[in-house]
């Protein structure tokens, strides 16, 4: 009999706590939906400005043939990526951002790790530039930017880069061919 009472008490505890959990869950879902609504109202609070500015200093270091400064900019970019607050993004935007950001991180890490090997840094810069270009296309930019193109980069396949100045300063060849290339597009 004692056992029976004991188990009845335990059962009631279990039931009560289960119910509480359910309630908590419902509360959680409601807060989630309200959060989503605020995101839709204010989608422009998310910014890639810091990533772009790290990219531009990386690009300028490459144009100056400065491998160490390039590596430093790559490391700074990895840090910046870690600080980006994705909560402000909607589902679709977040998916796009995460797809590109994972790749940006890959290239930035390799560029950061390869001080002294500027040829390898430039290899990664090809795809990094494409990523930054696509980020700007999706999330926009506050400053005037140019998409430049060098037909000789990437083993003659040609490659783009993003610049804040109209004047051509080629990051793929540096002093070897500083003015090779042309502006293809303006953001």
């Amino acid at each position: 009999m004692k056992n029976l009472i004991l188990s009845a008490v335990i059962m009631s505890f279990v039931l009560v706590s289960c119910n509480q959990k359910k309630q908590e869950e419902t509360i959680n879902t409601t807060t989630n939906t309200t959060e989503k609504v605020t995101v839709k109202v204010n989608p422009n609070s998310f910014s890639i400005n810091e990533i772009v500015s790290d990219y531009l200093s990386l690009k300028n270091a490459l144009a100056k043939d400065n491998s160490n400064a390039t590596a430093d900019a790559g490391k700074a970019m990895v840090e910046t990526l870690g600080k980006i607050d994705m909560k402000k993004l909607s589902g679709e935007q977040m998916k796009n951002y995460m797809d590109i950001a994972d790749d940006v991180k890959e290239h930035a890490t390799h560029i950061g790790d390869n001080a002294g090997n500027i040829a390898h840094q430039r290899e990664h810069f090809v795809l990094l530039s494409k990523d930054i270009n696509d980020l700007i296309k999706i999330f926009g930019t506050d400053q005037k930017l140019y998409q430049d193109f060098c037909p000789m980069a990437d083993e003659g396949k040609g490659a783009i880069w993003i610049s804040e100045v109209k004047e051509i300063k080629n990051p793929y060849f540096g002093s070897e061919m500083l003015t090779c290339g042309s502006v293809r597009k303006e953001f």
Partner: protein, 138 residues
């Protein structure tokens, strides 16, 4: 020194859905090459030779495997974003073309890991074909 035994790079019952070979549905001839020449250092499972029990071989190998896995892990390939996967394909073909991989120090003691020119071509052609079909999709 012979007493130092780092944990071995072997994972049992691993989830294989993220594996490179699954992600791209890699044909068997390519899969065999990758498993023989790349997976020892670029996956969660190393096929250890007997002499890996002798120090300092073991320490040397352990460092290689950790570095290799950090850069590219074929077992966890599906966890990279689509765009990053594409970059990895590009990087793999560059490494093979430039004879950077398999590492000379690894090939020295793993003669069967050395890629013949025909094998290199086989892998490079497959990568190119895969990349082209992906770029038409995205």
């Amino acid at each position: 020194m012979q007493l130092y035994r780092p944990a071995r790079n072997i994972t049992f019952g691993q989830d294989v859905t993220a594996d490179f070979i699954k992600v791209y549905n890699v044909p068997k001839n390519i899969a065999v090459i990758l498993r023989t020449s790349c997976y020892d250092c670029h996956s969660n499972n190393t096929n250890y030779p007997w002499y890996s029990n002798i120090q300092p071989v073991e320490i040397f190998m352990e460092n290689h495997i950790n570095e290799g896995k950090e850069d590219l892990n074929f077992n966890e390939y599906g966890n990279y974003s689509k765009r990053r996967q594409n970059s990895k394909l590009e990087a793999i073909s560059k490494e093979i073309k430039q004879n950077e991989m398999p590492l000379a120090s690894y090939a020295l003691i793993h003669k069967n890991a050395i890629l013949s020119n025909a094998q290199k071509q086989e892998v490079l052609t497959w990568i190119k074909k895969t990349k082209d079909s992906l770029s038409s999709k995205y």
